[in-house]
């Protein structure tokens, strides 16, 4: 696929793809890289990092392996980030398409709902949602998606509105193409690229929101997450800051990877369109 080739040609895309590929690999191979339950007590508590080759990053207050936590935490962060972004974009696309095509009262009503979801701070919404329904991975995914679907919806609708008026759509109508066919063959492929570029941003935001939620104790208590590790480390910040620092670095690397990938993707898409 030419798109992927263009992507790798940009430095941002190459580095971003590299980082993400590495992370996905770590997430998939976590049980092999770090066997056993990461939340089990593995050694004596508060082992400093870089001292024991079996526990390169040390252990926390309860004696849990920090490196194991980071490796397994990759699964949660990536899974929640990607799932939440997919859900948000799916809902956003549907609502945006519906509003853009229907027009009139339906459009107005849907846009007021979109406004409502954009006005409430998405973190507060996620907070309220998780606290009411209960903290588990699916609920966290849904909570983050609820706060994130409004932007893709607005963007999709704007795209549909502008493309609807273009000449090639008018000519498709003139030659008698069925409206649904026009929607899927002419409008959707051209409406997608900006939404795709936005999707990487949504993944990054979702990963950070999940971390913040579990930092506040609202994540799933049964899985290990980087946010909860940072929260754990907060209790002994003065004596063992590394417990909070390492998971944070993992977060930064992940999000940087997503942003670089997104920039590379945007450039590759723009390049493809100028070629076409």
């Amino acid at each position: 696929m030419r798109l992927i080739r263009n992507l790798i040609r940009t430095p941002e895309g190459a580095i971003g793809l590299g980082i993400l590929a590495l992370l996905v690999l770590i997430a998939l191979l976590a049980p092999a890289l770090s066997p056993g339950d990461p939340l089990r007590i593995a050694a004596r508590p508060l082992l400093p990092p870089f001292t024991d080759v079996n526990f390169p990053l040390g252990t926390d207050r309860l004696g849990r392996d920090v490196l194991a936590g980071i490796i397994h935490g990759t699964r949660t962060s990536l899974a929640v980030g990607i799932a939440a972004a997919l859900a948000a974009i799916a809902v956003g696309l549907c609502v945006g398409l519906a509003a853009g095509f229907a027009g009139g009262l339906v459009d107005e009503a849907l846009m007021r709902v979109v406004d409502a979801f954009q006005i409430v701070p998405s973190f507060l919404l996620a907070l309220a949602f998780v606290s009411v329904i209960g903290a588990s991975v699916p609920v966290v995914v849904l909570a983050i998606a609820l706060g994130a679907w409004a932007d893709p919806a607005r963007l999709t609708r704007a795209q549909v509105l502008s493309i609807r008026e273009r000449d090639y759509v008018a000519s498709a109508r003139v030659i008698g193409m069925h409206p649904a066919e026009i929607a899927f063959k002419e409008i959707l492929p051209n409406a997608l690229p900006p939404v795709l570029a936005l999707s990487a941003i949504i993944v990054a935001a979702a990963i950070l929101t999940e971390a913040a939620l579990s930092f506040l104790g609202l994540g799933d208590p049964n899985v290990v997450t980087w946010g909860s590790m940072i929260a754990e480390g907060r209790n002994i910040l003065r004596s063992s800051p590394s417990l909070s620092i390492f998971p944070g670095i993992a977060l930064v690397v992940t999000v940087v990877g997503v942003y670089l990938f997104s920039e590379g993707l945007t450039k590759a898409i723009a390049g493809r369109r100028s070629e076409a």
Partner: protein, 329 residues
């Protein structure tokens, strides 16, 4: 001035249905919680029997049907009654009014800092696109943008408060210090340095990138070439022609980011133990206090609406093309 008033009136009218949607949806969400405020209250006081629960529910109107209770809530809102906080045993409005100023101070400072520094750095980067300075700033801003603000708060806390002991670790001012006037202001400022920095850094990076992108776009426009053909100084072209136009999208962004910043203040205030509105939200969640949470969400929505309105007025003042079609002038 007329344009501003027209804008305010239009915006106020169109905000009401949106606010109503927020209220109804939040109400429905909090309804789906198992157990209501009375259950939570009884839990907090160590249990109680059914008759006590029943009489409490009657007193608070919690035994009525949902639509009735929704109507009751909305009509109370119109009288600025936000309900009663179960966890604090005080009116929600009092709590909100008490905590909001601290958060506004935090957010206001963070916004000013990020707008000022972010746009200045963005103009510096965008003055010479693709230069070394530009690339360096772009790379740095990308990394900064990826840092979670709560983690940054902890790291800053470790470095400046714990290790170096330059700044206090928590609170908004030294308790019971009896300071007044300027010394009190300085005390509060010292307490706010780290939280504001943690909150603002991400937005500095964002505004830098947006300004820089805007500068790159505007440089290519014809009126910049015309300005060059008039032989104007580089400083004047960069500031009065390019930046003046490139900053317009940034102003719009300010409005959009206010909601996100309010959400971010929740975690920052928790880390730095600042008695603010954001922290109140976290306390409402841990205290299972649905009325308080409801009130917080409604007030947040109103706050964001007001900020967006202010931003739109400022934008209209900066861009003479806005609002022309309606006035027909």
């Amino acid at each position: 001035m007329n344009r501003a008033l027209r804008l305010i009136r239009r915006r106020a009218i169109s905000s009401i249905p949106v606010l109503l949607i927020v209220i109804v949806l939040t109400f429905l969400l909090l309804e789906s919680a198992s157990g209501d405020a009375v259950d939570a209250y009884l839990l907090s006081i160590g249990g109680g029997d059914a008759t006590v629960a029943q009489s409490l529910r009657q007193a608070y109107g919690l035994d009525q049907s949902m639509p009735a209770r929704l109507w009751l809530y909305v009509s109370s809102l119109a009288k600025l009654d936000l309900g009663w906080s179960v966890a604090f045993s005080r009116p929600v409005l009092d709590l909100v009014l008490e905590r909001l100023p601290n958060t506004l101070l935090l957010m206001g400072s963070a916004t000013a800092l990020s707008f000022g520094l972010g746009s200045a750095l963005g103009i510096l980067a965008g003055a010479k696109p693709e230069s070394l300075r530009d690339r360096a700033l772009s790379t740095v801003s990308l990394i900064l943008y990826a840092i979670p603000s709560f983690w940054l708060g902890l790291v800053l806390s470790i470095i400046f408060a714990v290790q170096l002991r330059w700044l206090p670790t928590s609170g908004i001012e030294t308790i019971a210090s009896g300071k007044t006037g300027l010394t009190r202001a300085a005390d509060i400022a010292a307490h706010l340095v780290l939280p504001v920095a943690a909150l603002a850094l991400i937005y500095i990076a964002l505004f830098l990138r947006v300004t820089r992108a805007g500068m790159a776009e505007v440089w290519r426009l014809d009126f910049v070439l015309f300005a060059r053909s008039k032989g104007l100084s580089r400083a004047r072209i960069v500031l009065r022609h390019v930046a003046r136009n490139a900053l317009l999208p940034l102003v719009t962004m300010l409005g959009l980011q206010s909601a996100a910043m309010l959400g971010g203040s929740v975690v920052i205030e928790s880390i730095f133990a600042i008695p603010g509105f954001g922290r109140l939200a976290q306390e409402a969640v841990s205290g299972r206090d649905a009325p308080l949470l409801m009130g917080i969400i409604v007030v947040s929505a109103v706050l964001v609406i007001c900020v967006n309105l202010a931003v739109d007025i400022v934008y209209a003042a900066l861009d003479p093309r806005v609002g022309v079609s309606e006035s027909g002038g």
